[in-house]
Amino acid sequence: MSTSTRKSKTAPDDFVAMLETSEADTKQIFADAAKAAERLRKTTLATRLEAVKKLVDHITRNKEEIIDVITRETRKSRSDALISELLGVLDNCEWLLHNAKKILADKKVSTPITLLGKKSRIYHEPLGTVLVIAPWNYPFHIGLTSILAAYVCGNAVVFKPSEITPMQGLFEKLFNVDPLLEQSVFIAYGTGVTAQRLIDQHPAKIFFTGSARTGKKILAQAADKLIPVDLELGGKDQAIIFDDVNIQRAAKGVLWGALTNAGQSCSSVERIYVQDGIYDQFVQTLQTEIRKLVVNAGDTGNADMGGMTVDFQLDIVRKQVDDARAKGARILTGGDLLCDNELFYMPTLLTHVDDSMLVMQQETFGPLLPVLRFSSEDEVIQLSNATEFGLSASVWSKDAARAERVARQLECGAVSINNVMLTEGNPGLPFGGTKASGYGRQKGAEGLLGYTRSKSVLIDGDSAKIEPNWYPYTQQKYNLFSQLIDALFTASPWRLLKAALIGMKLEAEAKKER
């Protein structure tokens, strides 16, 4: 089997000392993938969905072992891994099993009167070999969701997990449940160097989730080869809390939104706008709730917040807090590491923050909760839209009309109303951003179709009939076409009747030679 032999060739067991996938290997991968794509063209959707079914079964039965691997490599709390990674993947699988058939079926499209008697169709065809580059924050969920969507659509998949969380051997083991799946997914371990080599092999499309910096590099390399790219990049998501909310609930929601996965989610809450009237009480409630949190990892499921996965991300968080502190922010909880030499940053509540601070300008990707004050609806829309990012947001208000009004005016890809990060909880909803948060959509019908190329088909019958728009162009045809346009596009109760009469004349005319 290609992946396992390749794995042993390119990567030792110790994931820290990982090697890149060599150029020769990447070539071989893509050659094999092309063959796999060819094989897949001859399979039915039902066959491919069988693999998804087996996978659901396998993941369910082996969830604790899978979580062991995820938590070991990410430092997540066990519940974070169970809920956001395992449950997330299984939800998506289930959604595929129930919806893929309908979405990927040939689509009938109505045919206009001018093309009377013909049939129109759209085929959703696989792209060929796609490249999925996954991040380290949800290495299981994002990787597997993307791979399975691509595979179900009939693509061969080349998958590069993050070098930080390669989870070596885990995916190989999963894909073993189904021979076709196993032969259609190729795992290439390595860093950005490997990613470049893989892009050089000209995948049909690249699906990248990660930082804006890397996203730009990938886009630049892909531009030269005209490879389409879907980019799911960072965010600076706002939570907007109006003063008519249940404070306890909103605070608990925002707290989770900011701290789940230790804040290392692209759609983490990173800016908390609280309306004047409840500002003090809201901050107080957040502070109390933070004190109740249990920070730990390698737990049995009872730790709330885990650790940071990488030191460079931790450095960003520390820098942002130091900068905010120096510029006058107040730090009400946390503000530093749990202890030296451990990647655990304490949940940090900041007030008196302003736009001059890095924490308001850059993505944090860590357990910070900067709280800002606002007075009016217009003000908070304007303030919170004034960022280069636009991934998702949450709006909290008892007034449903106001919440919806605000949701429509936010420049982002998703809004949860009176909840947080919940659009991601519905696999039927597309996920993706705008502005510097990227473009393209994962999940939902839109996301699934992103792994296909639509082929339009118009079907006519075989007959002696010559189309009027075919040659020869005669003066008489020209006049009739001109009359047809007038008839079709001038408002009249007899419009269609007139057009039909002209059409009949045109058909008669079409039979004549010049």
């Binding site: 109740k292 949190l293 920070v295």
Partner: protein, 477 residues
Amino acid sequence: MKRMHDYIIVGSGASGSVLAHYLTQAGADVLMLEAGKRFTAATFPQNEMDANAQLMWNGGMDMSRDAATLFIRGKVLGGGTIINQCLLDRFDDVALDDWRTAAGIDFFRNRDMERHYDAVESNLSLHYMEKADWNRNAELYVEGFEKLGLEWAPLRRGQSDCGKGNDCIVCLGGCPRKSKQSMLETFLPKAEKNGLKILSEFEVAEVVHGQQFVTLQGRHQGHPHSLYGRQVILAAGALGTTQLLLKAGVQKRLPALGRNFHCHPQWMTVGFFDEPVDSHKGAFQSVKSTDPRFRDWGFKLENVFAGPIAMSLLKPGYGFEHQRFMQRYRNMACIEVAVRDQAAGTLALSNKGRLVIDKPLSDGDRQRANRGNQIVHDIFSTLGAREIMTSPIQIALHLMGGCSIGTRASDSVVNEQFQVHGLPRLRIADSSIFPNAPGINPSLSIMALSHRAAETLLAEAGIAPSTSTTRKQEQQA
């Protein structure tokens, strides 16, 4: 405050304080948590009511599910050693042999335990009660024993200098003379001198064990707070420690958790004499039963008494009859049967997270109690008591088991490194690890086991335990 501690000790009683002393002596960074308040000899409550309310869990009114047994446990800095009688006996071969058999732990033999007893005793001022110490209650006890040909001996008690004119019963609510060798007068001040940090009024709600450290979530003076330690030692007693582990949700992996609960149930018998006995005056307890037959029969007879609130609880009924009972408080002599209970109880959590204690008595336990009570009746009859009453209320002061020590996760909770099976950063050396009831006051043995646990922890950390002699030499130098 520094966030990550080398060790956090939950509980400040005989186990926690001894561990704190030996760990800080070796230079470790140790934080101690105590749910109760910190008192001093000068600030202890002045009466029995306040003492119950301020020094004990649930006002000293923890009950078994069938409400037949009353459990008393300390909730104060110093734990049970503040409210006990500080009777400090070593375990005999009978107790240790039974433990070795039950737990499969080899160090449960006198040859191995001796140096641990020696070590902790070197920190305690121990006193054999003399005839001069006896109050009338003790005199009657001895008189009765001699008349019936039973063996008795003077008690060994931890006390430095009780002075003159003391009515020792008050020291069940905290010794105001700095004499009783509670942790507050012995191990704790030494540990604090060596850098022990203490957070009193910190009640731990949950213990979360992780790969690199343990998180303790709780409330400090009512406010939520989390604490972090590389190693956490649960020293909250049989009920407290077991409850914390039950809350941690490890019972599925450790089926022995909450089992093997023992408590040396006690039955108090009052003998009424015509002349005043004044059992509440003078030294509270002076003598003990050492009759070898009693050891075989599974009980001890205790020379005890209690304050008026506790005594009033012993008498069922109310109204004139109860008033008449209490009116004769000065005429009461009292002997108690403490049974070495065979039937294990269980500790579990209710749906609301409250501890539910089931402590049935086996027929054998009842026979032991009945036999003991019969002898007490015989003693009081011989002494010419006008009336004899055995209270139906069982009182339990020695709360033991729930997290038994052993070698396998299938039938024990901690291993011989005092480590919870499968949770290597969690340690227990308090009475909850007892595999069964020893039939001997447990306090000194809890200290000895905690000394051993401290040695184990320090050896793992690569630190040689510093002895008191080397420390003294350092100080002299």
